[in-house]
């Protein structure tokens, strides 16, 4: 937040106030003859920093590329250095700002393209328009996001590094992108939960499952257990081509529960000596999976108490399992 936005919206009282005309006093209640305030009276400048709101329609292609179409204000000169600017939230490095040339696209619209080949670091990217008119880049509002080609996205399994960008409207109604950049990547599909455990099916991209492939649950708790083995549970992987499947029994997770709500992150090791990859759900049009892909948490009897165990997606759309004690409210 900049200092200027912290200034009070109304200026402090000054002597000049006495010269401003006051409402004439009448015998009737002031509300009676008071004209309703028309918007023509002018918006409060502090509330509307931008004169014209810029909206961007966004079309996704199945390879991960995005095309932005802006409805530019009529008097916008098509500047040679106009650009759609993407800024990584919380980033300040050289790679944390990307400028995409913004050119005329007929019918008074401006177009910018983010090809799938441009790498975007993982995170949330805010979208701005720099119209090349010397003013600061202006935050974009979302228009129509046509993401149908992302809904059942099935990239080629051999893809080395997988880029995923999902445009969405922020809490404040601005346009932003969520980005993931992973290789290899383990994509979670259907999950079946039973009182004994959960079975996850999915696809592996950028690696081929080989002998010794396994799935691994790692307790996130701090501090870790004195017996490190209790913070890690591995199960074998069934593989068929790029498809994988594993069943994670709840018993061990429940048995090592100590207190409160304990999350476990799920990883996949494609081969005995391979680097583990995070299991996540990225290949569709849903920017935030947590609320949409929701699974039952089932009661499991453990030594200490009865706990509830169930899978969920983290805020980064990674797959995790929560073991919650009896006093913890359910998700």
């Amino acid at each position: 937040m900049t200092a200027s936005t912290q200034l009070p919206a109304t200026p402090p009282a000054t002597p000049a106030e006495s010269t401003t005309p006051t409402t004439p006093t009448t015998k009737e209640h002031p509300a009676i003859d008071q004209e309703p305030q028309a918007p023509a009276a002018g918006p409060d400048p502090a509330r509307r920093p931008d004169p014209v709101e810029l909206r961007a329609d966004c079309i996704a292609d199945s390879a991960g590329g995005l095309t932005f179409d802006l409805s530019a204000p009529e008097d916008t000169p098509a500047s040679w250095n106009a650009a759609l600017v993407l800024r990584l939230r919380g980033g300040d490095g050289a790679d944390d700002e990307i400028r995409l040339p913004l050119g005329p696209n007929g019918s008074g619209r401006l177009r910018a393209v983010l090809p799938s080949t441009v790498a975007l670091a993982e995170g949330r990217w805010n979208a701005y328009a720099d119209l090349g008119d010397g003013r600061n880049p202006q935050r974009l509002r979302p228009g129509v996001n046509d993401l149908r080609s992302l809904v059942d996205r099935r990239p080629l399994a051999g893809i080395g590094r997988l880029g995923v960008r999902i445009p969405y409207a922020t809490k404040y109604g601005n346009l932003a992108l969520r980005s993931w950049l992973r290789g290899p990547h383990a994509e979670a599909g259907d999950i079946v939960v039973t009182p004994d455990g959960m079975t996850v099916s999915g696809r592996l991209y950028g690696a081929s499952p080989a002998a010794g492939a396994e799935a691994e649950a790692r307790a996130r708790r701090k501090p870790p257990s004195t017996d490190a083995g209790r913070d890690r549970v591995t199960v074998p992987l069934t593989v068929e081509g790029q498809h994988f499947r594993f069943t994670l029994p709840y018993e061990e997770l429940a048995g090592s529960w100590r207190r409160g709500s304990e999350p476990w992150d799920l990883w996949l090791r494609p081969a005995a000596d391979a680097r583990p990859v995070r299991i996540a759900r990225l290949l569709d049009d849903v920017a935030d999976k947590k609320q949409v892909f929701s699974y039952p948490a089932l009661p499991v009897r453990a030594a200490a108490a009865q706990v509830r165990v169930g899978p969920y997606y983290t805020l980064d759309n990674d797959l995790a399992v929560r073991v919650a004690g009896p006093e913890e409210p359910g998700e």
């Binding site: 109304t10 209640h29 509300a31 009676i32 309703p36 305030q37 028309a38 918007p39 023509a40 918006p43 409060d44 509330r47 509307r48 329609d57 228009g143 129509v144 996001n145 046509d146 993401l147 149908r148 809904v151 059942d152 259907d190 999950i191 079946v192 939960v193 049009d285 849903v286 609320q291 949409v292 892909f293 929701s294 699974y295 039952p296």
Partner: protein, 418 residues
């Protein structure tokens, strides 16, 4: 001509606001159009009004703004003109009574259009002589409480026309016997979506609406259990938020449908979400119109809907651009969905038919119907000044007569139940 709409709150989110904006924006291409919002709680409207329509408010309810009027003592005293049996009564007051009266006394429009019963009553009773007075019904007469129906029967004879969104509701209004008052069904309008229609290849069924009891999403979810059993490759998305969410979530878990049925949360705009599907589903027990049906059709989706009162049967042609099934029957809904799921050719053909048939709801078409209605009423007004005066006098007399009769009936009933 100069057309003035009177709306409860143009700054909120809802079907009436959306459809009024669509209509106003289209009429503004050839007329002077203003929307007068009784209340205002936000700086800018949520929906796009376009540059041609003037928008203003009568009472400022922006709590953080300098013009906040919600603490006016007159706003704490109950309304006298706005009918007590109206849903929104609690938000009306002596202050709104006064501001609306003031607005209607000074109005300089040729046509004034009310967008809900309480405001139509204001227009009937308080609009100055001159403008054509039109009362829109966006819900239905049948669903109003008896006291409100009486209030409407008392006031509406002083309107020039009442518009409903379905023929079924127009028939209901005609039974009220409002002599000289045109009763006409004009459907809500839905603009062409700003994106390509669905191609019918995705294996998704889409539904959208408030998660409220009346939408019967429990029936849809139970139906989808039968669908998923036969076609596990198809899935269902339900867009919208609301009070039923937790219950529906529990039902999905209970039926083990968490890999097939998804509660997506609210979405605005909805068009891109329809375009992701291949079939739209509506399970409601009541739809005063059926805006989502038209929206889905305009995106090229065939709609499987319950044949509930009032709208679906007037929008969907069964077997041509969608399917109509009995209310509250999961098996019937599932069978109709499976028919379309299992027949790619029929599904795509019906999708194309839906796209073509829904053009009649385009704002240009609907605004055209309103234009002719306004023209005819204005002509009647100009050509037959005497008749106009007679209509007004008769309206006033009838209002009085109905009021007396209804008061007498209530008095009798009061005695009997005492």
């Amino acid at each position: 001509m100069h057309i003035s709409f009177l709306i409860h709150n143009a700054y909120g989110i809802g079907g009436t606001i959306r459809t009024t904006f669509n209509l106003a924006r289209t009429l503004a291409e050839r007329h002077d159009v203003e929307i007068v919002s009784v209340l205002r709680h936000r700086d800018t409207p949520v929906f796009d009004l376009g540059p041609g329509v003037a928008l203003r408010h009568l009472v400022d309810m922006r709590e953080d703004g300098p013009g906040y009027e919600g603490d006016d003592p007159a706003h704490r005293r109950p309304a006298k003109v706005f009918p007590a049996a109206e849903n929104r009564f609690a938000q009306y007051s002596e202050l709104t009574d006064r501001r609306i009266a003031q607005h209607l006394r000074r109005i300089e429009a040729d046509v004034v259009v009310g967008t809900r019963p309480g405001l139509n009553v204001h227009i009937a009773k308080q609009a100055r002589r001159g403008p054509v007075r039109i009362g829109q019904e966006h819900l239905t007469l049948d669903t109003h409480p008896r006291e409100l129906k009486l209030a409407l029967r008392g006031a509406y004879p002083r309107l020039d026309a009442v518009t409903t969104v379905t023929e079924a509701d127009a028939r209901a209004y005609r039974t009220l016997r409002l002599p000289g008052v045109r009763v006409e069904a004009v459907p809500n309008s839905v603009p062409a979506p700003g994106l390509l229609p669905a191609d019918g290849s995705g294996k998704w069924v889409v539904a959208a609406g408030r998660l409220a009891r009346v939408k019967r999403y429990d029936v849809l979810i139970r139906a989808f259990a039968q669908v998923a059993e036969q076609r596990p490759d198809w899935r269902l998305r339900i867009y919208g938020g609301g009070a039923e969410k937790a219950g529906l979530r529990a039902l999905i878990d209970e039926l083990g449908l968490y890999n097939h049925v998804f509660l997506m949360g609210p979405a605005n705009p909805l068009e891109p979400e329809w375009a992701k599907g291949s079939i739209a589903a509506v399970s409601s027990s009541l739809e005063s119109f059926g805006m989502t049906i038209v929206e889905a059709m305009r995106c090229g989706l065939p709609v499987v809907a319950t044949d509930c009162p009032h709208g679906p049967g007037e929008i969907i042609e069964d077997g041509v651009d969608g399917r109509l099934v009995p209310v509250g029957k999961p098996a019937a809904l599932a069978a109709a969905l499976l028919d379309l799921i299992n027949d790619d050719e029929a599904r795509k053909r019906m999708g194309r038919a839906a796209l073509a048939a829904s053009v009649r709801f385009d704002p240009a078409m609907v605004a055209g119907r309103y234009e002719s209605l306004f023209d005819e009423l204005l002509a009647r007004r100009r050509g037959h000044r005497l008749r106009g005066t007679w209509h007004r006098t008769r309206g006033a007399l009838l209002s009085g007569a109905y009021a007396t009769k209804d008061a007498a009936q209530s008095a009798v009933r009061g005695v009997r139940t005492a």
